[in-house]
């Protein structure tokens, strides 16, 4: 099947598009020589860039469109007026079966609205969620939702728990992923009602694709206490960005410390390869690529401000998911669990 795998790229999405997208696709082509690419965007800009990368050119096709969704566009407006945008046409390619996944570094809200409209959610899933990996003391974990759904009810949280653990299993290889609900402590019934109800459902479900750990708190994210952190899109987005900001703060403090004395500067030079390793480990490009979980098609959102290497990593995630037949497996697991879930819900 790998010979037939094609990834659709929104060549116009992202701060440094289309150049960043083309350079990213070129890196991805070297990693996945058997993957083909559909590049949606302005041919006059995309084709000359593509001409620089001979090997990529051999496996890529440019599909011209003038329209581009701007980063400020409201999702509802983009949905109505962006029917011929590079983003929309790239999503259409997945729907039509011409591609097995789509990657865009464009407007997140517009991408979600369009992908949901074109690809639809899988049977039994009310709302898709944005999920991504992040580094922990124990390795890597998955967190969702990272911003698709500001308000979440009990059923949404339960769906996220199931989707997140299937994702953790298929992509990170966890046999029985542990699932935690993000809360603010367990004393005196703290937290929102939806969280307590979701915990009751997850505790009662007897064939989860993972093990329900219970509630976790903000510091458990980086500790790696659980494999899957489940939360609403508001809290998840704040937590993700708070973690990013904090990592940058500590790195900046570290840089300042090394510059604070001549001895420290020499120390830095001696420890340079170790520091590079640290930088690499914390490099946000390494974790670039969030998946829209629950859609009937692989949709990966790259950070808009990423560079070619980060974008190549987002493509890599789409390739992994497409090769692993992720959507089909998620759907199967979900169907199997549907009854259990319904029973558990009824029992609450």
């Amino acid at each position: 099947m790998s010979a037939s795998l094609t990834i659709a790229l929104d060549a116009m999405g992202g701060d440094a598009a289309p150049e960043m997208v083309l350079r990213g696709a070129n890196i991805a082509q070297q990693r996945f020589p058997d993957v083909r690419f559909l590049l949606f965007g302005r041919e006059g800009e995309v084709a000359p860039l593509l001409a620089k990368y001979k090997k990529l050119q051999a496996v890529a096709e440019v599909i011209h469109t003038d329209d581009v969704v701007s980063s400020e566009e409201r999702p509802s407006v983009a949905l109505r007026s962006g029917r011929n945008s590079s983003m929309r046409l790239a999503i259409n390619a997945v729907h039509d079966g011409r591609a097995q996944g789509v990657v865009s570094a464009g407007n997140t809200g517009a991408l979600m609205a369009m992908a949901k409209f074109v690809l639809k959610t899988l049977p039994g899933i009310d709302r898709p969620a944005i999920a991504s990996f992040f580094p922990t003391l124990k390795g890597e974990s998955v967190m969702l939702d990272l911003g698709a759904n500001v308000h979440c009810d009990t059923n949404n949280l339960v769906d996220f728990a199931i989707m997140g653990s299937v994702f953790s299993h298929l992509v990170l290889g966890r046999i029985e992923p542990s699932i935690g609900l993000l809360n603010v402590g367990s004393e005196d019934k703290k937290g929102h009602d939806a969280l307590w109800d979701a915990a009751a459902v997850l505790r009662g479900a007897d064939s989860l694709p993972g093990r329900f750990h219970g509630f976790v708190e903000g510091d458990d994210i980086a500790k790696g206490t659980v494999d899957v952190i489940v939360t609403d899109g508001f809290t998840g987005n704040v937590a993700l960005k708070t973690a990013e900001g904090t990592a940058k703060l500590v790195s900046e403090y570290l840089r300042q410390s090394f510059r604070s004395s001549p001895l420290a500067s020499i120390g830095y030079l001696l420890a340079k390869s170790a520091m590079n390793k640290l930088r690499k480990r914390l490099d946000p490009r390494r974790y670039n690529g969030a998946i829209f979980l629950g859609l009937n098609g692989v949709t990966v959102k790259s950070h808009g401000g990423t560079d070619a290497l980060g974008f190549a990593n987002a493509i890599g995630l789409a390739v992994d998911l497409a090769k692993g037949d992720f959507v089909k497996r998620l759907q199967e697991d979900f169907a199997k669990l549907g009854r259990v879930q319904a029973n558990a819900r009824a029992a609450v």
Copy 2:
């Protein structure tokens, strides 16, 4: 007035109490030689510890009680059955005017419930909030609420904005603190309704004790984009703990990096004093001490797991606030703003 300043300490609160409390009070006594202490707790345990610190002994009085609020106690239960607890008696001392501030490293929920019950909220303030400093790229900022109120309405958020900026002004010396509402982006009316309504009120208020900046996101916390971050207690608690967890993760990665090669180990030795500076800058003990803002009395919560140095810092915050007549000034500013606020609210 400094001669008459007394701080009440819950000698039994905290993982390593009462020893940690006594050692912390001893450090604080060296920093503030003119401050007196009331130590509430089991005399049989507290007095022998106090006997070790002669100078502290000269300015401290032990007030015996057998009762202690456990860390697992529900706030409602502690409120009913903890009338003679060390925590409750320490709060009573502030109410009776025998002390100008109370510090406890005990059960947060119980401390809030008791302090609210005994000290009451200031006129016009519906709910107290937990506020604390944290380090940023630009210095220090204040965030609230950190966990007292899981659900917050528009009025609560507006109150927090006012209390936070008065706090920033009085304690951090900011002339016109900038205020940000924590949200998940500004596009397409993202976020909860209460946030949008609070933003409208703050934009419309013409005599805020600060300048309303607008919405900020999670990464703005560490950036120091604003002086005061306003959020509900659920989100604030998750953000605070996520930041703590991430800082620990990066520090651990750093430690591992330095150990990864002999050269890096030598580099570490050369850069050691710089690394100690970094550690100091990130030391959570430095930021220990959260204030319960909006109460009619200075109430400071220390982290339960802190050590003597961290506890001394929490005492330092209580001393600063008591010396600066913080509660009176907050009340005055709040009274001045009351009308403005009511008008702005009516206009929404």
